[in-house]
Amino acid sequence: MLPFLYFSLKRAWQGFWRNAVMSFAATATMVLMLLLLAGFWIIQTGLLAGLQFTEQKVQVVAYLQPNATQTQINELAAEIQRRSDVESVDVVTRDKALERFRESMKAQGRTDLTEQLDSNPLLASVEVKLKDAAALRAVTESLAPEEHPIVRNVINIQDLVERLLTVTNILRTVGTGILIGVGLIALFIIVNAIRLAVVARAEEIEIMRLVGASDAFIRWPFVFEGAFVGFLGAVITLAILAGAAEPLNGFMVDFFRVLPLQIGSMTRDLVTLVMGAGVGLGILGSWVSVRTYLIR
């Protein structure tokens, strides 16, 4: 076993360098395809993370009658809190609502006109955070003024949320489909590139067959070589991504601001994806290419 491993690894290494042009062509193709794959994956993951973040932001806001007492408000809050689909309930008193309004005016640099008012015109509200955006309808209905007289009205964002959910679902399905499609295209192109490298050494394979080399002795050096091309391609791809991460990250934060999208948090998954796809595709490519010569 050890002589076989030594032989295969030695031959793989020699094979890579003796056909340097072909090997680098295959590696370059591998890098391009892995970048494409990683790019799609980053976009897909980013968009989904963004949408998920938005989904989490979905909350039901019920404005209360001005005459609602604190006890009534607390009772309502406690009742809603007991629901299994509710994450948390916040009670916003009239004073707190005014304070928030003033802060937001200040943050936007606008003149605060509330100083001119005699009394607080804002209403108290309960803000219900949901465990799942899909529970919106049920929670909205349970807060209806018909059920609770102290509720004045519930803001209806049903349509908006449903659209958001549809978009998320489509994106998840289509995105996965595109990712698989890109993966398959990458597979074909990489297999083809490696096949060229193998074809360039068809005579060597023929000599090996004629002198009585077993399939394993013919196949494994190429498989190791394919794995090496994949590994090298993955390392180069990751280096390029790492170099691009800093400016890209800055851009994302600038652009999306509210989205918690950071490449850093995806690093581990990305390394696994690129490395796995690179080495896996390299091995598969060689295996398939050499197989053509062995089936006889």
């Binding site: 032989f7 002198v211 009585g212 080399a213 077993s214």
Partner: protein, 295 residues
């Protein structure tokens, strides 16, 4: 004709021009001599029983003159419908030296492909060293190929490897322990006379030296049979003779040689056994024969 003992007929000719010989000839030992060309063509039934006996002998390692190769009723038809070989019968005993002649397209290459199991016969049996190649499981093919050394017109050497490495390659890729490779390679390089050139790459060698490297590579596994496919096709006459001398010497060492060639001069001069193919049939199988029929 010199004939004695048990070695059977190796000579059968189907089709046209044949049967000067009787059934009795089939069971005689035939030695190829330049003075006595022999043509023998036994009746098919006799050949069949003969083949059985040869096969039985083939299983017995103690018998010195066992058949290395037996082809029986071999037909090869390619998927495109072309029939390359028809009803070929051929027996090559151990230690024989056989020329395979015939015009291009006669079926020589197909025959060689069957012997190295690059192709499988459509019908009939190809038995090498007691093994029917059609029934040989695929994973045992490499082991079987190590019993054959094959030499080509275009040498098929690896241009980036030295003479020594080209020969050692045949052992490396078949899993030989490294400590056994060096003495084995040195030994065959000495036989072919290339010890001094062992560190040169093929581009630095003459055609003859390249072919001798290929012969060394074919020999390094200690094969039962050397198949030479037009080994002198790319060489000038003088070098061709050198290669022939080398093959004859290897044959004297006990290795069976089957050489496909168009080189009429060599075949006629050496008066070895000649098997002639035409349109896929064996039209002549003659011990001590010439390149062309001498009726």
């Amino acid at each position: 004709m010199v004939a004695s003992g048990r070695r059977g007929s190796r000579c059968r000719a189907r089709g046209r021009g044949r049967t000067e010989a009787s059934r009795g000839d089939t069971d005689r030992r035939i030695l190829p001599t330049a003075e006595s060309p022999v043509t023998i063509a036994p009746a098919p039934s006799a050949a069949r029983s003969l083949r059985r006996r040869i096969l039985e002998r083939g299983r017995d390692q103690a018998v010195p003159d066992r058949a290395v190769l037996v082809l029986h009723d071999v037909t090869k038809q390619y998927p495109n419908g072309k029939i390359a070989l028809r009803d070929v019968d051929l027996v090559i005993p151990e230690g024989d030296f056989v020329f395979l002649v015939g015009p291009s397209g006669a079926g020589k290459s197909t025959l060689i492909k069957l012997l190295i199991r690059d192709e499988v016969a459509t019908r009939g049996e190809v038995v090498l060293d007691g093994q029917d190649l059609a029934r040989l499981p695929r994973r045992q093919v490499p082991r079987m190929r190590r019993k054959i050394g094959i030499i080509f017109q275009d040498f098929k050497l690896l241009p980036t490897k030295t003479v020594w490495e080209n020969v050692a390659f045949a052992l490396e890729v078949t899993g030989y322990p490294r400590r056994q490779i060096r003495p084995a390679v040195d030994r065959v390089l000495a036989i072919v006379g290339l010890t001094a050139q062992s560190k040169q790459v093929p581009a630095q060698l003459s055609g003859g030296e390249q072919q001798r490297t290929a012969i060394a590579r074919a020999l390094v596994h200690d094969p039962r049979l050397i198949i030479a496919d037009e080994p002198t096709g790319n060489l000038d006459p003088l070098i061709s003779w050198e290669i022939l001398q080398l093959l004859l010497r290897i044959n004297e060492l006990g290795v069976t040689v089957l050489m496909a060639t168009h080189n009429a001069e060599v075949v006629t001069a050496l008066r070895k056994r000649v098997v002639a193919l035409e349109e896929g049939r064996v039209i002549r199988d003659e011990v001590g024969g010439a390149y062309h029929r001498e009726d």
